[in-house]
């Protein structure tokens, strides 16, 4: 097994969750025992596999009708190579808000999933949805919560008081719902409260305009070091409109930060793990959640700190299990 060549395909090299998860797999010593992991970037649906053969293909690609032919071609060219697909993008919330023709979209997903030997969901909520919508058979579906190396987060000093500095971390995109958090924060009084926004994206100017009247809200752009935002904040807000898993919530939890999430898709997994949930996306509900957070000292956080060594091993052992089931 140790000589197996495992190729990870991606078409999204932007500094986000997907790339960091792949990096984690590539650099894992534990997973190195399962085989030699490599990554290939697929551009414009064009893909030729490296010479020397590949034993397992793991797709981290975003599925759509446009690249459907390329997916089918890949399957036809390598009929005997086991293929795994990791579904990083699609969730119920995504379909509700972004898909106009649901029947057509679900046909695409069903037929694309058929091309793979195994599909990996990144959260239990996503798995439940895939099964409920009958998009894939349960026996071909695994759940592997996305993870990264959390050692740095674990050793961060925990904020001493009740949260004063709130953070938004991620791409400034409609998906993340940062506009909701900014509007809600503006309505919270408290001169010592801060809202720090880390990340970049298409909505930057819009969000800056929204926060213009409130000097407590600051924008810090994208940080290459994922520890940097966590160091500065006491609590993380995630009002996402859809979210397959939400890696940053995982990081914040292991850093002992309070995590406040919307009850959306994969974020539900974090609620079970100790995150505070906000029942809807209304400004009133988020305002209340922020105020409540500032008034309570979260005693449980330290206990709730996920044990990174355990979790990382779990991520790795889940992957090992998934890979060995195919070989």
């Amino acid at each position: 097994m140790s000589h197996a060549s495992i190729l990870h395909l991606t078409d999204d090299t932007t500094p986000g969750g997907v790339m960091r998860v792949i990096d984690t797999i590539l650099s894992s010593k534990y997973l190195a025992k399962t085989g030699k992991h490599r990554m290939a970037v697929v551009e414009n649906s064009k893909l030729t596999l490296p010479k020397g053969g590949v034993d397992v293909i793991v797709s981290h690609l975003a599925l759509n009708w446009r690249n459907f032919a390329a997916r089918a071609r890949l399957r036809a060219m390598y009929p005997d190579t086991p293929m795994i697909h990791v579904e990083h993008s699609y969730t119920q919330g995504f379909v509700a808000q972004k898909v106009l023709n649901k029947t057509r979209f679900f046909s695409m997903l069903r037929s694309a999933f058929c091309l793979f030997d195994r599909v990996v969901a990144v959260s239990n909520a996503q798995k439940d949805w895939l099964i409920r919508r009958d998009l894939i058979d349960e026996d071909r579906l695994s759940v592997i919560h996305s993870s990264v190396d959390l050692t740095g987060f674990e050793t961060l000093p925990k904020p001493a008081t009740s949260p004063r500095i709130f953070g938004l971390v991620g791409r400034l995109h409609e998906q993340k719902g940062f506009d909701i958090a900014i509007r809600a924060f503006r309505e919270c009084s408290g001169l010592d409260l801060r809202l720090m926004v880390f990340g970049d994206g298409p909505l930057r100017s819009e969000l800056e305009a929204l926060a213009f009247c409130d000097p407590r809200i600051t924008f810090h752009g994208h940080c290459d070091d994922p520890l940097e935002p966590m160091r500065s904040i006491d609590a993380l807000l995630m009002p996402s409109r859809w979210e397959a898993y939400g890696l940053v919530a995982h990081e914040a939890r292991s850093a002992g930060r309070k995590v406040i999430v919307a009850t959306t898709d994969g974020l539900k997994d974090h609620i079970q793990a100790g995150a505070t949930n906000v029942h809807d996306h209304s400004i009133a509900a988020w305002k209340q959640a922020i105020i409540q957070a500032t008034q309570t000292l979260d005693k449980n956080s330290r206990n709730n700190r996920s044990n990174s060594n355990m979790e990382a091993t779990r991520f790795e052992s889940d992957w090992k299990k998934c890979l060995s089931s195919l070989q």
């Binding site: 119920q92 919330g93 379909v95 509700a96 808000q97 898909v99 106009l100 649901k102 029947t103 679900f106 409920r132 919508r133 009958d134 409609e174 719902g177 506009d179 909701i180 509007r183 009002p239 409109r241 009850t263 959306t264 029942h279 809807d280 996306h281 209304s282 400004i283 009133a284 209340q288 409540q292």
Partner: protein, 334 residues
Amino acid sequence: MPRASIVVPAFNASATIAETLSSLQSQTFRDFEVIVVNDGSTDHTVDIIQPFLKDSRFHIVNQPNRGLAGARNTGIAEATGYYIGFCDSDDLWVADKLARHILHLDLSPDVGLSYAGSILIDGEGQPLGLKQSPRLHAITAAEVFKRNPVGNGSVAIFRRAALMDIAYTPQKDRPRQWFFDETFRQSEDIECWLRLALTTDWEIEGIRGHLTKYRIAGGGLSANTNKQLASWNRMVEKLRPLSPIFFAKHEPAARAYQLRYLARRAVSAGDEHKAKKYAREFLKASFSPFFEEPLKTLTTLAATVCLSWTGYDPMRFAAILRRGTLNPRPQKQT
């Protein structure tokens, strides 16, 4: 476990609830339970429900008054059926309503909410000659927002999984689950349907036929149009952050339809001043209703003008005509 549960919220409904429960008892599909939620009634509603409880499929739950949404939420919590329907305590179901919706939901696993048209009846249960005949297919969130195809609160049959996808537990009411927002006293229906459309991927789809008899009692629907508009606005404020893009695109047209509806209501109530005000605002909001439903839009405007010139509500005249000609004939179902 019954296949379907029917939730009947009842508040001081002694005048009508017997007829409602009889219409449910005579459903041709028989594997169901009825959960009557007595929402703090102060009249003898409970006495009227009592004889129905001999039928083992009928149950009653008593609670202090919470309002329509709160009664429905309690009913859903008690319901054990795979499908969950709602019938208000003054409305009636046509005998094969449940059977047809269950067939529809059984055959369409992606449909989370099944609905149909309604016949409007008066206080005595006589047809008013008016029907709600909504569009049945290709129902998008925009269609729900603009035209509310589900129509009224005694129409919808949900798949349990779809209801569970919109459940939430507000902090101040733990551990109760809310499906309908109990802070609303009006617009709670449309808020629920629209939230289903905007946050889940369940299809909303209608079936042919007018399967609910929807009662317009006494002086018609409540004439307090101001309050109704306020709660509609609050619904928009609540849901807008879910998808600002959606609301930026569809709110003007939806507002125009809502104002057109309120203008019609004001005309029916003979309130010339309000009718004119709503008609003006509706024209300001969007011209979409002109293109999408020219006939109904022009009728509304004509009726408003007629009321303000002559002081006589032309809709009443139309109703008299309808009663004179249509009622003796059996209702045609389309």
